[in-house]
Amino acid sequence: MTVSVKTQTLPPIKKLRNIPREEMYVPGHRTCAGCGPALQYRLVAKAAGPNTILLGPTGCMYVANASYLCTPYHVPWIHTQITNGGAVASGVEAAYQALIRKGKWEGELPNIIVMAGDGGSSDIGLQAMSALMYRGHDVLFVCYDNESYANTGIQTSPTTPYGSNTTFTPPGKAVPEGKKLFPKDVPQLVIGGHPAVKYVATASVAYPLDLMNKVRKALNFRGPTFLHIHAPCPKGWKFEESKTIEMARLAIQTGMWSLYEWENGEYKYQHKPREYKPVGEYMKHQKRFAHLTEEHIAKMQAFVDARVKAPGVPVNLPAPGPREQA
């Protein structure tokens, strides 16, 4: 019954000079100066182009963009609850399938893109995201990962790194590391178990061409696709706002973030460092890690070392749970 009616293919962009000029995410939004998520939003929207419908689960990319009674979205956009970005997108997609089939709307099936934060993708929004993937709707689900519930004042989320200082994981005498839990591997949640999904990728604002081309590649697939985008947050991670791209770059250089694609069962890596810098090089710039001791940083290093052996693949990680830790 569900037949995708998309025939267009968005071509890859070869160099920065060729990036389309038209802004789909225009100046005039209340995001923090240097906001990583705002930047990735701008690049994603640009890559997608005008035949696009955006969905905004509650989060920074809702509240900061849409205050007040105005938005920066040049294309149609609708607010969703933080719980249900995947479900609302499913409804929009199903509507367009029906309307096009019945001749009530003419044109190419629009790009339908959910722009959810890490909470709206892997925590409170996980159920809806997974169901979208399972049902096979022609939708791109983007998780912009600023590693916290940032909009509500920087609280921990399932992607917040071990050892982070957030307002729900403050360090103290009883809990010196602040956050004891190790993060979920979000792309693995998608890759492991949704037969209709053929393409999952990670991206970073540090590599904008790679990011935009992954967006276009994902949109060209007929079916659900998932992008996990690293979007450094100067306010939450507590670093100087001019260093957003630097932080994104360092994350990749230290192995705290890896760039890869999973397509039809196969992994392909991008910008993989030949040698990884120590995680301390990344963490020392961010005051959210300022309270950590050598011992904590060593735990982080061990975790990262194990994970970079095969990013995106389930491997045994030294990630002691809270009941195992002292």
């Binding site: 019954m1 569900t2 005008p50 035949n51 696009t52 419908i53 969905l55 809702y62 509240v63 849409a66 205050s67 007040y68 009674l69 105005c70 938005t71 979205y73 040049h74 294309v75 149609p76 956009w77 609708i78 607010h79 969703t80 609850q81 719980t83 249900n84 479900a87 609302v88 997108a89 499913s90 409804g91 929009v92 997609e93 199903a94 509507a95 367009y96 399938q97 029906a98 309307l99 089939r101 019945k102 009530k104 709307w105 044109g107 629009p110 159920q127 809806a128 997974s130 169901a131 399972y134 049902r135």
Partner: protein
């Protein structure tokens, strides 16, 4: 061709939804409404109904799916019962405030704890503040008709509001009754295709739906729905009139009266137990008790003026409460406080009391109605009610 079928309430709902030519349906199983979705999935599978049948991952998702689909310009349908209705709760206000005419079938069911498959109105009554149109069908015929009627009301440009189209679980949803089905041409005449206007999600006409507002704009946002509910009654009357004319029915938009011409005592009720009430009333009449029935068709918008006018003619009104509202002003159900409010400014007011009955899926036997009539008669004799809430069948 118009034809008569014997259908359960669930099947009748499915027939109406099919004839309404919906575009998107979101399903999730929960007793007792599930059968409606089973019927619809068969219709979709064998090509009778061209609609996207989306298997929601839960009731909350069902509502989110139709929110998105309606915003994209589709006519939509979903449904639930019991705790499914309360699980979806977060989405009700965004849908009504977003002015999306989503239609949700409710085959009501008692809320947990614990599991109880029986009928009770509390599940969706607890959502009556959320800005949706809400009303009960007494039998499968009314259920069929209400679904079509509500699409037309909700999609009217003056209204643009979602609707809970309710029927008693099991008593209506599962017990078959005669349903006179119109032919498709009649339905097409009554219900034109959904035409939402410009505010849909359409890349050809971009809009932003639902940006954040300042607190000092909140009241104005709420007032939009407040105003819509002021404009709504006139639309309902027009639509019912149109439906009656095209389909050959004779529905009263607000209140259905039975043997009230010379009644002194009256049962005030919504939903399936009205059928038993009518039998009880006939028997009581044979014994000389001047009793009648007033049946409510819409609980939202509440027909304040009509309730006040009609009930003022009687000496005593017994409100049948098939829902609970713990700790409320009457310590009973949801209907009596609204009945009394409707009567507050009326010069001649009847005595009013209420009877908690039919809760949990229980039947209301004839004997209980006789007992209620007795209580009403005693109140009239004494010139006052003994109390405002009786738990029928559980008291002496």
């Amino acid at each position: 061709m118009a034809k008569e079928m014997t259908l359960s309430g669930c099947a009748a709902a499915a027939q109406a939804v099919k004839m309404a030519k919906v575009d998107v349906i979101s399903s999730y199983p929960i007793r007792p409404y599930t059968a409606a979705m089973m019927e619809l999935s068969k219709m979709v599978a064998n090509g009778e109904l061209d609609a996207e049948f989306v298997h929601g991952e839960g009731e909350h998702a069902q509502l989110a799916i139709v929110y998105g689909a309606s915003a994209a310009g589709a006519r939509v349908f979903t449904g639930s019962s019991g705790v499914g209705v309360t699980y979806a709760f977060e989405n009700y206000s965004p849908i009504s405030g977003g002015r999306l005419p989503v239609q949700m079938m409710i085959a009501d069911r008692a809320l947990d704890p614990p599991g109880d498959f029986g009928s009770e109105h509390t599940d969706v009554m607890s959502a009556r503040d959320q800005g949706w149109i809400m009303g009960w069908a007494e039998n499968p015929q009314e259920a069929f008709d209400n679904h079509l009627i509500n699409y037309r009301i909700g999609e009217d440009r003056r209204v643009m509001l979602p609707q809970f189209v309710c029927q008693d679980g099991y008593f209506v949803s599962h017990i078959p009754g005669k349903v006179l089905l119109p032919d498709q041409a009649q339905v097409d005449e009554f219900l034109p295709p959904y035409s939402p206007g410009n505010h849909v999600l359409d890349p050809k006409k971009p809009f932003s739906h639902g940006p954040q507002i300042r607190p000092d704009q909140g009241a104005i946002m709420d007032l939009q729905r407040g105003q819509a509910f002021l404009d709504l009654p006139q639309v309902i009357e027009e639509v019912i009139d149109s439906y009656n004319r095209i389909m050959g029915r004779s529905y009263s938009p607000w209140l259905e009266q039975f043997m009230t011409d010379d009644a002194e005592l009256v049962f005030f009720i919504q939903g399936a137990h009205a059928a038993t009430a009518r039998h009880a009333i006939r028997h009581l009449r044979q014994k000389g008790v001047k009793v009648g029935l007033v049946k409510l068709r819409f609980v939202r918008p509440w027909p304040t003026q009509q309730v006040g006018e009609v009930l003022s003619r009687f000496k005593a009104v017994g409100v049948i409460e098939t829902s609970t509202s713990y700790g409320n002003a009457t310590r009973g159900g949801n209907l009596l406080p609204e009945v009394r409010t409707s009567l507050y400014d009326v010069p001649t007011r009847p005595l009013t009391t209420s009877f908690m009955a039919g809760l949990g899926g229980d039947v209301i036997p004839l004997e209980e109605f006789y007992w209620m009539a007795q209580k009403l008669g005693e109140a009239v004799k004494a010139g006052k009610v003994e109390k405002h809430v009786y738990w029928a069948g559980l008291e002496n």
